[in-house]
């Protein structure tokens, strides 16, 4: 493998790590403030206990997200110096605003974590809300910068230089809204299901079921609402990509031949050499409809794009299928949750809790898969149709060692954080009351 491949792997790895911690750090504060509000309203100790347990989770995930984010802000330049030199000023606006939002979050977190019994109760609770809102704002702003890479606007290229820069136009690029919506819902769905699943498992183990049932209810509510809305947002994204990045759409669907009334493939094995897909389920005309809202619309196939502009088709296709498949499962589970609000008897069925326990990690698998779709699907470009990833990479050789260093550090971190969470739950279960 070349330097470029290792640089890409390192970026993929560190972003893949950061995305999980960022999502949890963004969404968990909302669970925490709901539980906190319930404590303020009811004064039932179970809510206070839950709030304090979740607050530790928020603190741990915020810091891991923050340090991996700090590393990323450097890495963007360290791995892709040419990209940052030209694109940095163009996409600077969302990043500078993100810095501000992140700062507000850190300040609010300082107030919240250390404010128990020191600050007025309502003010203290509001600082919790500010953590959540500024976290979501940070997420949306960062996604705006990524969306710009998919839909570069707000500048002209003259002699390889980016001129006539309009940072506001770049910020509000065409892909921004659909991507930010999809990512925010994904964060809520994935975190909601992950947290709910952990508590569902504790209920199965019959450890402090009253506390874990309250926790489950709060987390799954956020997750389920997001999981139900996500397919709508996915539809918006698909139509958007069909228009702006037809080659990415074709790769997602492993669609080789340009066709009117194109079929949708479910599953299937991609043979990149022979340019065909075997073992698939075909739904006639569905792709044309999903992409353009017309059963007979023409969908351009991969064969009609220059070979040198094609992304790795198989990876993008499998990742897309994984994301959609898990999304569908989560949507069904969300419906089951809402029905269970009426049919209370389901709550006594162990299968109900097993369902959510098993789904627990899958939301994050979908988040990773979705991110692979958008990033790998954009290759070989770092800025779509403007700058190739190979042109942006650092001239420094030996990226291999840097990659392995990051892998080692982040794996140790991930293992430690998981272990810490297990200890938190154990202590919570063994606590009195």
């Amino acid at each position: 493998m070349e330097n470029l491949d290792y640089a890409r792997l390192q970026m993929a790895f560190t972003l893949g790590f950061h995305i999980i911690f960022a999502c949890i750090g963004m969404v968990m504060p909302f669970f925490m403030v709901v539980s906190h509000k319930k404590w303020l309203n009811t004064r039932k100790p179970v809510y206070l206990k839950l709030t304090k347990a979740w607050q530790k989770g928020v603190a741990i995930f915020f810091v891991t997200g923050a340090v991996s984010g700090t590393a990323l802000s450097f890495e963007l330049g360290m791995l892709w110096p040419e990209f940052m030199k030209h694109a940095g000023p163009v996409i600077g606006m969302p990043f500078s605003l993100e810095g501000a939002a992140f700062f507000v979050e850190a300040i609010a977190l300082g107030f919240y974590l250390y404010g128990w019994n020191k600050l007025p109760e309502t003010f203290h609770w509001i600082t919790g809300i500010i953590i959540g809102i500024s976290g979501v704002a940070s997420g949306i702003l960062v996604v705006s910068a990524n969306a710009w890479m998919n839909s570069p606007t707000g500048f002209d290229v003259i002699d390889g230089n980016f001129v006539n820069i309009d940072p506001v136009a770049a910020f509000l690029n065409d892909a921004w809204f659909t991507q930010a919506l999809h990512m925010t819902l994904a964060a809520f769905a994935a975190t909601g299901f992950a947290v709910a699943g952990i508590h569902a498992f504790q209920i199965l183990r019959n450890k402090k079921p009253e506390l874990h049932k309250e926790a489950f209810k709060i987390a799954i509510f956020f997750g389920a609402v997001a999981a139900l809305l996500q397919p709508l947002s996915g539809d918006l994204s698909a139509k958007d990509i069909a228009e702006r990045q037809p080659v990415k759409l074709a790769a997602m669907e492993a669609h080789y031949e340009t066709k009117k009334g194109a079929p949708l493939y479910i599953g299937g094995i991609v043979d990149e050499e022979n340019k065909e897909v075997t073992h698939k389920i075909e739904i006639p005309k569905a792709l044309s409809f999903l992409a353009f809202g017309d059963f007979d619309a023409e969908v351009k196939g991969l064969n009609d794009f220059p070979e040198k502009d094609l992304p790795p088709v198989a990876i993008v296709h499998y990742a897309f299928q994984t994301m959609v498949g898990i999304g569908t499962l989560m949507m069904i589970a969300a419906l089951i949750f809402f029905i269970s609000l009426k049919k209370k008897s389901w709550l006594n069925n162990r299968k109900y809790w097993w369902l959510f326990a098993i789904l627990s990690p899958l939301g994050f698998v979908a988040v990773e898969a979705g991110w692979v779709v958008t990033e790998v699907g954009r290759q070989p470009w770092i800025v779509y149709n403007i700058m190739r990833t190979s042109e942006a990479v650092t001239p420094m050789p030996g990226m291999k060692y840097s990659f392995f260093l990051y892998v080692a550090v982040y794996i140790i971190l991930a293992v430690t954080v998981t272990w810490l969470m297990k200890r938190q739950i154990k202590v919570l279960n063994n606590s009195i009351g």
Binding site: K56, A59, I60, V63, T64, A66, V67, G69, T70, A71, S73, F74, L76, G77, M78, P81, M84, K85, H86, G88, P89, G92, M93, F95, S96, L97, G99, A100, F102, F103, V104, A106, I107, G110, F111, L113, Y114, G115, N117, K118, L119, V163, N164, I165, D166, P167, T394, P395, M396, P397, S402, L405, V409, L413, L420, R423, Q424, K426, V427, L428
Partner: protein, 346 residues
């Protein structure tokens, strides 16, 4: 005009990072160089004092980096390519330190693993500012080799030697001593009784270490004809700023004796401001000195449209953040402490 707003925020972030981030690193260094007993005391004190703000302290670095890449892309490009390795080490240090701090205070079980969190925290608190100092030292050392032709020069000549030499190591040690001095001085105002005496002693020791390190750095630079040091010593403003900073040690110690913690902080902060001014003033705007010449950060700044939007963002962001930060510090008694403050947590 907006360019000056951006420049102001660049150096403002640098100043706050050196001061607040530095005091934060310093707290770990002080703990590292403490006896077993004092370490526990220190651990509790810094948690209480810095806990609420420590996360915010480190965001100044992100703000600084973001401003550099947006407004000074060409300049940033050189920093990020040629300091790749030391910056990676800085990041590693920041990562280990951040998680160790949070682990040791948020691990639900207080057990044997604490020993490891403490070790990680203290060790990374020392090495991170050393590497940060080395990065700055590299930029002004005149040793960076900028080249397009990678066949003529070896990997080590481009990516190792410029940052790994006696001058940069001395710069790193100087910054680490500055951090330790800041932390021990700031912590005096936060404590009472025995602990207070402890920090007073530590502050005295680290003041001496700092002065020695500063002297060594300048002497080495002068002896080896490091351009930056030569220019530093022949620049009247820089020299006066450093001398003034040294003179302030006298009122600083008076303020410490009189237990005037707000004044203590003000003096320590002002000293850092003077040191940064002295360093930046010597060569501004040519803040990178390479083996083949100087690089002016004001050359090839981002276009006006970008600078304008960035300036406005910074003014708005600053307008939200600074009062919030001030209020946070005030709420947790970091700006002025009441007379009856006993230093005990609830």
């Amino acid at each position: 005009m907006m360019l000056y707003v951006v420049l102001f925020f660049t150096f403002f972030s640098l100043f706050l990072y050196v001061l607040l981030g530095g005091a934060d690193f310093g707290a770990g260094i002080v703990e590292l160089f403490s006896s077993r007993n004092d370490r526990q005391l220190n651990r509790d004190t810094i948690y209480k004092v810095m806990g609420p703000v420590w996360e915010a302290n480190h965001i100044w670095l992100i703000i600084l980096i973001v401003i550099l890449w947006i407004a000074f892309p060409v300049y940033f490009n050189i920093i990020i390519i040629y300091l790749h390795i030391p910056l990676t080490l800085v990041l590693l240090g920041i990562t280990i330190r951040g998680v160790a701090f949070i682990f040791r205070h948020y691990d639900a079980v207080v057990g044997a693993s604490q020993v490891w969190y403490n070790r990680m925290f203290r060790f990374s608190s020392l090495i991170t500012p050393i590497f940060l100092g080395m990065c700055f030292g590299t930029l002004v050392s005149g040793k960076i080799v900028i080249t397009e032709d990678y066949s003529e020069t070896s990997f080590a000549e481009i990516f190792m030697f410029p940052w790994l030499n006696v001058f940069t190591i001395l710069t790193g040690l100087f910054y680490a001593s500055l951090c330790a001095f800041l932390a021990s001085t700031l912590l005096i105002g936060e404590t009472t009784g025995e602990i207070r005496k402890l920090y007073s002693k530590k502050s005295a020791i680290f003041t001496i270490v700092l002065v020695i390190m500063g002297g060594l750095l300048l002497a080495y630079g002068l002896w080896n004809k490091v351009v930056f040091v030569q220019d530093f010593l022949s620049n009247a403003y820089s020299l006066s700023a450093v001398s003034l900073s040294a003179l302030i040690l006298i009122p600083l110690w008076k303020a410490i004796k009189e237990q005037h913690s707000l004044l203590t902080r003000f003096y320590a902060g002002f000293q850092v401001l003077l040191v940064i001014f002295a360093a930046v003033n010597t060569h501004f705007p040519n803040l990178i000195i390479t083996s083949t010449g100087d690089i002016n950060m004001m050359d090839e700044t981002a276009p006006d449209s970008v600078i304008r939007v960035l300036g406005i963002s910074l003014i708005i962001g600053g307008g939200i953040i600074l009062p919030g930060l001030f209020h946070l510090m005030k709420s947790f008694n970091m700006i002025s402490i009441p007379k009856n403050f006993t230093g005990e947590d609830d």
